[in-house]
């Protein structure tokens, strides 16, 4: 039983290492895009439109003669950057609301949770369309709409975990020790709820990338001529018969990044045990592994 557990641990650690390398590569590309891209991603050159791969354009050019590779590299900035922005903002708001609701309880909890349920009942696409209708299309509107919808899920997760933690004796002991509410939240609650949520959040980034791409594909998100993977698929769809690679390349990028994030999320969940959220690091202690296995 223990041996099996260790093997799973080792395997997931290898997987985690592999996907971290892939992800590291993507992040590097995102940061270094202006230096490593061979061409300006928005420079139109109709004389060179729809060219096949060549030394000058390794992945060819699109219908306006723009270098596909450069656009893909810059596109990573938008996809990864804004997905991370959505994740961090939603996480921050969720952490604040969820912790307050869970810790305070009573009427505060009821009011906040009813509000969350109201937000959850609201379809995100309608919210995006509404914001786009008011402010016009743009990535900021998409990001705002997605944060407005997603924080609720984090808030609910945080609340649930805080409710569980609150009953633990070390919180009572901290109260008896004279620690203020703020100190208890800062020292005892947040360090215990954050890691498992970050693990789950890794899965969420994959979804956020897909959502941004989907919105851009629908023409609601990023606007031409900026390169974003979803927007690139959108622009390439007119040439699907003659030049399917215009849709294929950004599609593959989305696939690769999302799969990488998902595998990383799974591996981390395995490693840190999202179910045994508070038992971080304990798996490696033989005795505890035995205790867990014996349960």
């Amino acid at each position: 039983m223990i041996a099996r557990r260790m093997r799973i641990g080792l395997k997931s650690r290898k997987t985690a290492l592999a996907v971290t390398v892939v992800l590291g590569f993507f992040i590097l590309v995102t940061v270094l895009a202006p230096w490593i891209a061979p061409h300006d991603p928005i420079q139109v050159n109709l004389a060179h439109k729809l060219q096949p791969p060549s030394w000058e354009h390794p992945l060819g050019t699109d219908h306006l003669g723009r270098d596909t590779l450069s656009r893909l590299l810059y596109g990573a900035r938008y996809s990864l950057g804004f997905a991370s922005l959505i994740f961090l903002s939603a996480l921050g708001i969720g952490l604040l609301i969820g912790t307050v609701a869970g810790y305070k309880g009573g009427i505060v909890d009821s009011v906040l949770m009813r509000f969350c349920e109201g937000v959850m009942a609201f379809p995100s696409l309608v919210l995006v369309l509404g914001l786009v209708g008011i402010f016009g299309p743009g990535l900021a509107q998409v990001v705002l709409a997605m944060v407005m919808v997603q924080w609720v899920y984090y808030a609910r997760m945080f609340r649930g975990m805080v409710l569980d933690l609150k009953e633990r004796n070390f919180i009572t002991a901290a109260k008896i020790s004279g620690s203020s509410t703020w100190k208890i939240i800062r020292r005892h609650i947040i360090p215990n709820v954050l890691p498992p949520i970050v693990v789950m959040g890794t899965l969420e980034i994959g979804w956020a990338i897909m959502d941004i791409a989907a919105m851009s594909f629908l023409g609601l998100g990023i606007q031409p001529p900026m390169p974003e993977w979803g927007a690139m698929i959108h622009e390439g769809k007119g040439y699907i018969r003659s030049h399917p690679e215009l849709m294929l390349y950004p599609g593959l990028m989305i696939l690769l990044v999302v799969v990488t994030f998902n595998i990383l999320g799974e591996a981390l969940a395995d490693r840190y045990g999202v179910n045994g959220a508070f038992e971080r690091g304990r798996i490696h202690d033989g005795k505890t592994a035995q205790r867990i296995a014996g349960k």
């Binding site: 070390f170 620690s179 360090p191 215990n192 508070f278």
Partner: protein, 273 residues
Amino acid sequence: MSLLEVIGVTHTYAGSRLFRRAGRQTPVLTGVSLSIEQGMGLGLLGASGAGKSTLGRVILGLERPRQGQVLFQGQDLYRADASTRRQLRRDLQAVFQDYTSSVNPRMTAGQIVGEPLENYERLSARELHRTVGELLERVGLKAEDARKYPHQFSGGQLQRISIARAIALKPKLIVLDEAVSSLDMVNQTNILALLGDLKSIFGLSYLFITHDVKAAYSISDALAVMEKGALIERCGDKDQLFSSPHPVVNKLISSVLSEHPRYRSLASSSNPS
């Protein structure tokens, strides 16, 4: 003046406001009164659900009772202003049954034991480190253990850390809520001995909540028994318990198994006194 005086405490746990029906609440505590003198160990016995732990929480200032008063050092814990309350709390500490959940898994033993000191005393990092080391040694651990995390300790050691945290501020009263019940026999004996030592060194008072008659007898000066939220027996001298006429008390005493199987049937029928 007694160190702690509990006067006519009655308490009920409120259910959901929406579904609460009048007359359906079962009281957890009904008119409980008791007192603890300075330096005295009071063993509070009773079966599960008798309201012992709730009384402990009420005394610790964690659960405001519906009726009655809790006077600690002559002041009402629930009516004192914030700063008085804070000062009173300082002298009132606790150790719980579940040692794993009593310590934050993400803090080192040093941080755990140092937390009450941080809250009440202005110590430099160096003094704090030294004091924490002394406290750990006092409870039978090593000063170097301050750097370790809870998962690196055994159950008995974790309970020692909890005790170190409870005595850090040199309190006057410690509520021990089933503090040794989840430990094995050897650890129980060791921890009870440690608690006995600390009591005589610091002049501590204990409220020792347990269902274990033997453990309570070994550490306490006086005993009290609870049943269904009420205090049914109070003995100023712990040996008086054995001559109590109350059937619940007799049942409790007879539940103690004798060391030797031959005497077990005798223990349940006759009074050992």
